[in-house]
């Protein structure tokens, strides 16, 4: 009898343990389901590539949006990873660097000096100048930086140093505390991310912006000797980063990613030169280098680069790293497949954005990458002719001022842009474009009495311009695959390009 009772007790204990295990498993899956995926999506690849990465890119959103590891690899063979974080002040950058070193030690670190003037350490406290919304946003952004890193000694130290409220720290330890309320807005990616790695827009940590801000304000340059002299927490942590580099034998490079910065921001950026001099390291202030970017076409906002600006800034930085710093070329070496895949993903992303742009500005910006061949047509009475920003973007493509000339003629405008055959032909008045040889066929464009006729290929009577369904459309853009010559897109824009047709 006693044996039987003992057996029953053991059975109950075993069942209870099994139940708890099942419950724990289900909770784990629920946690994976509701977690915000952007941290894993952005930084998840880092854990795989860390031992191979020669260069780590650190800093704020300027780094994420402005320096593209795919461009660095494609053009210079530089194996880099972008660990920048949105809103990263330098204390956050420092701790992200410390955590990153747990997985690999790069030979070079490029550090963005933006937000050097910030004089607070705790993100949940900040200063009186910031609002509660700022504090909340900072915590949110810290999640994107930190969530992907497993909980450990360095992450615990980071949280203690960055967040004063212990209960707030706890939500970084168990992010389910914060994310469980996402249950009502879960998307396909959330379900797919339960068992696999989330697939998003990041390219080795970089996040490219495919929009153009046509209203960027420009400011005069201040003299590099004009500096923001005050000591700040930001400067202290920049020094801590540099000390850590020295300790780990990592070569640091300070950069200021280019954008149309106002005078105050210029003075703040200039003050990084003092710290660079203190440590005897280079400070690449790209804002003082002529013509790296054109702020009127290469910025997504007043302070951030778009994908085109990022490509230009990355190309410039890559050239410096490659030729002056001596970062090795890894192209063709085994073990760098992830970088090759990133380059492919980058170009696929460009084409995807060409076929599905935010607006005409974004479309013209992405066409600059020369990943497709295209014909751009602007209707004779389009308001697009009067939009200076649009004209600048078209001039970027055509390489001439032809669009300015056509703007006053009340005639339709056509630009044939084929990077494969290096063709750039545009209309000049009523003179037709005849027998233009391109990779996608022979192109003819004629302005007739009531309409314009665009033909591609043998059949010169078949008008490629859609007057039946889209006669009132301002702008039409035909997109061709440069490899096959097939038409892969026909886009329409109304109201001068601000609205997709």
């Amino acid at each position: 009898m006693r044996i039987r009772k003992t057996g029953q007790k053991i059975q109950k204990v075993l069942l209870a343990v099994l139940f708890l295990l099942l419950l724990a498993g289900c909770l784990y899956l629920a946690d994976r389901l509701v977690e915000r995926k952007d941290s894993r999506e952005k930084n998840g690849d880092y854990f795989a590539v860390a031992p191979k990465a020669d260069v780590l890119l650190l800093g704020s959103s300027h780094m994420i949006n402005g320096i593209n590891p795919a461009v660095l690899y494609e053009n210079f063979g530089i194996a880099s990873y972008n660990l920048g974080g949105h809103g990263n002040v330098l204390p956050v950058t420092y701790w992200e660097f410390v955590n990153a070193l747990d997985y690999g030690t790069p030979k070079y670190v490029v550090i963005d000096t933006y937000l050097l003037e910030k004089d607070y350490q705790y993100l949940d406290v900040m200063t009186d100048a910031e609002s509660d919304a700022d504090r909340s946003a900072a915590i949110d952004q810290l999640h994107e930086v930190m969530d992907a890193f497993p909980y450990g000694k360095n992450k615990r130290a980071a949280l203690s140093d960055l967040i004063s409220n212990p209960s707030l720290r706890r939500e970084f330890t168990f992010d389910f505390i914060r994310y469980h309320s996402r249950w009502s807005s879960l998307e396909r990616e959330d379900y797919e991310g339960v068992f696999g790695e989330p697939c998003g827009e990041s390219i080795l940590g970089a996040q490219l912006r495919y929009e153009v801000d046509p209203g960027v304000s420009l400011y005069p340059r201040v003299d590099p000797s004009e500096k923001f002299e005050e000591a700040t927490v930001g400067k202290t942590y920049l020094r801590r980063i540099l000390d850590l580099c020295r300790e780990k034998d990592i070569f640091p490079i300070l950069v200021q990613v280019p954008f149309a910065e106002n005078e105050d921001l210029q003075r703040i950026a200039n003050s990084a030169q003092d710290i660079a001099d203190e440590y005897g390291i280079p400070f690449l202030n790209m804002n003082y280098v002529e013509n790296i970017i054109n702020p009127e076409t290469d910025q997504q906002s007043q302070t951030h680069l778009n994908a085109l600006g990022a490509a230009k800034a990355s190309a410039w930085l890559g050239a410096v790293l490659s030729s002056e710093v001596g970062v090795p070329d890894r192209r063709g070496e085994a073990g760098y497949e992830l970088w090759e895949a990133a380059v492919r993903k980058y170009h696929q992303q460009i084409v995807a954005n060409i076929l599905n742009p935010e607006d005409l500005y974004a479309e013209l910006m992405t066409l600059n990458f020369n990943d497709v061949s295209t014909i751009i047509f602007i209707n004779n009475d389009s308001v697009a002719f009067y939009d200076e920003s649009l004209r600048k973007l078209i001039k970027n493509l055509s390489g001439t001022d032809g669009i300015d000339v056509m703007a006053g003629t009340k005639l339709g405008y056509c630009l044939i842009h084929d990077p494969v055959t290096d063709t750039n032909e545009e209309t000049k008045g009523t003179v037709p474009l005849e027998n233009i040889k391109t990779s996608f066929g022979t192109v003819n464009f004629t302005t007739l009495e009531n309409y314009d006729l665009l033909s591609v290929g043998e059949n010169t009577d078949e008008n490629q311009l859609d007057y039946v369904n889209n006669g009132k459309i301002d702008v039409q853009i035909l997109v061709y695959d440069p490899a096959s010559g097939e038409k892969i897109g026909h886009l329409y824009f109304r109201d001068g390009g601000l609205v997709r047709g």
Binding site: F19, C26, A30, S181, S184
Partner: protein, 506 residues
């Protein structure tokens, strides 16, 4: 150590992981330690739990425990009314000073110390003293009857007066941590024998306790706190919301306070069950009541029966004529209102419930006559459904005064209920109240489940018992599903104040 120190002053909320760990630790120690030490161990846990809210307030608890224990011993033996009154006056004096001073003497002296749960444990302890006095009185009467004229009254009292519980046992009864914050307001005759002879560990108690707690967490975190988002928004700015949605918020508040307090009670009852004790029920589907009087037999049962046993009956109950009965009802409900909060809105809320009941008694002959004349079959379900609806609306109306910060805000809410803009239910205005579509769907589904469960309660069907008859996989599926539902869909996390049970402020 850090965890413990962080709890001091902030308390251990039922809705925290700390509480679950605390309960588990208490259960482990209580079952593993020798039987004779179990009471002391549980008392230590209970005082630690209470001290975590404010160590100073533990002195108030010990004061109440000591005065009522020794007075109870005394009046059980000697049945001295003056001692009873002195004890009641002392404890009500402390309660008054802590809770009502500011209400009646604003500006004279700012009294900031309000021990948590003081309204609950004071009533529980005073109930015990009154029971002792009644026992003493009954024993004295019985001794007088049995020993005839020769026996002195005093001797009779001494003979009848058993010593009652040990001090530690009684202290545990007053301080028992699952119920110290907001009840249920227990009776000594139910709990003291259990504390005297605590049962051994049982899987059934553990499982049932956890299931009851799960139900409590569901009510609180999935329903009550979800509804609170809507209600808080409407009550904060009723004029910006269409009248229909103000009505909806008023009705939802009725459900919110039910889910909030019934949720709390379930967690308390479940916790006690995990520790091996059976605590009285506090709610039995109150909104399925067909009258306000019936509502009070199913709402906050431990309080309403306390007022019935110790105030209404003491005032004479219904034995002194109809008029006195109505007056007693009005007094009891006014006191009940005041007990809930130090504010005239609470007083009015209680008084309104008294008026409802008196009006119900007064109208009864008219209703009976009408029903007979119109040949209304009052046994039909449809008639009962109508009564339930009317009762729910009356109770909901009264809750406006309970919920509003002031009379003027309550009147404002009532005024804002004008205008039946029924389209505001479908034109997107609902979403602007803070819940998205999925959350409204979840809330609606939860309310349907609550309704079905309450129907089962009224029909004597226990879903928990029915569930335990099912196969293990189905049971486990439902258990795990329930935990996931609470953790994923419950309202908690950043920006959520886990200590805010509505009744914890009383």
């Amino acid at each position: 150590m850090n965890v413990v120190s962080s709890m001091i002053g902030s308390g251990i909320s039922f809705l925290s992981l700390e509480y679950l760990a605390f309960l588990l630790a208490a259960a482990l120690v209580r079952y593993l330690c020798p039987e004779r030490a179990r009471t002391a161990v549980l008392l230590a846990f209970s005082w630690l739990f209470y001290a975590a809210w404010n160590p100073v307030c533990l002195l108030f608890l010990i004061f109440t425990t000591g005065t009522t224990y020794f007075t109870g011993r005394y009046v059980r033996r000697r049945s001295v009314r003056a001692a009873l009154f002195l004890c009641i006056a002392a404890n009500l004096g402390v309660l008054f000073f802590c809770k009502y001073w500011g209400m009646f003497f604003p500006g004279i002296f700012e009294q900031r110390l309000l021990p948590v749960g003081i309204s609950f444990y004071t009533l529980q302890a005073l109930g015990y003293v009154v029971d002792c006095w009644r026992e003493g009185k009954a024993a004295k009467a019985s001794a007088q009857a049995s020993s005839g004229q020769n026996s002195s009254v005093q001797d009779g009292g001494k003979k009848s007066g058993a010593d009652g519980p040990r001090f530690l046992t009684y202290a545990l009864f007053v301080s028992f941590f699952p119920g110290i914050l907001s009840g249920p307001i227990e009776r000594g005759r139910n709990m003291l024998p259990q504390f005297e002879k605590p049962c051994n560990f049982s899987f059934d108690n553990l499982r049932n306790g956890l299931l009851i707690m799960t139900w409590g967490y569901f009510l609180k975190m999935v329903l009550a706190d979800r509804i609170a988002i809507v209600v808080n928004r409407v009550y904060a700015n009723p004029e910006s919301v269409p009248g229909t949605l103000v009505v909806l918020a008023v009705l939802l508040y009725s459900v919110q306070i039910y889910c909030d307090f019934a949720g709390y009670s379930a967690i308390a009852i479940g916790s006690a069950r995990v520790l091996g004790f059976r605590v009285m029920q506090n709610f039995t589907a109150p909104y399925l009541s067909a009258s306000v009087a019936e509502f009070w037999r199913h709402w906050h049962i431990s309080l309403s029966t306390w007022f019935r046993d110790y105030l209404y009956i003491s005032l004479g109950g219904n034995r002194r004529g109809t008029g006195r009965k109505y007056l007693n009802i009005l007094i009891v409900f006014a006191v009940s209102g005041l007990w809930h909060g130090a504010g005239f809105t609470f007083l009015f809320w209680g008084f309104l419930h008294g008026i409802y009941q008196v009006a119900g008694y007064l109208q009864k002959p008219i209703r009976d006559a009408l029903a007979q004349r119109l040949h209304i079959d009052r046994t039909r379900g449809s008639h009962r459904a109508l009564q339930i609806l009317v009762t729910f609306l009356l109770v909901s109306f009264a809750w406006i005064f309970f919920r509003a910060d002031s009379f003027s805000r309550a009147v404002q809410i009532i005024r804002c209920m004008e205008g039946a803009e029924i389209w505001s239910l479908t034109d997107g205005s609902l979403i602007a109240l803070g819940l998205d579509t999925m959350n409204w769907v979840l809330l609606a589904a939860g309310l349907v489940f609550l309704f079905v469960r309450d129907l089962c309660v009224r029909r004597g069907i226990s879903i928990r018992v029915q569930l335990q008859k099912q196969g293990i996989w189905l049971r486990w599926l439902l258990y795990i599903g329930a935990v996931l539902l609470i953790l994923v869909c419950g309202i908690w996390g950043p920006g959520y104040d886990a200590s805010t049970f509505i009744y914890s402020q009383f």
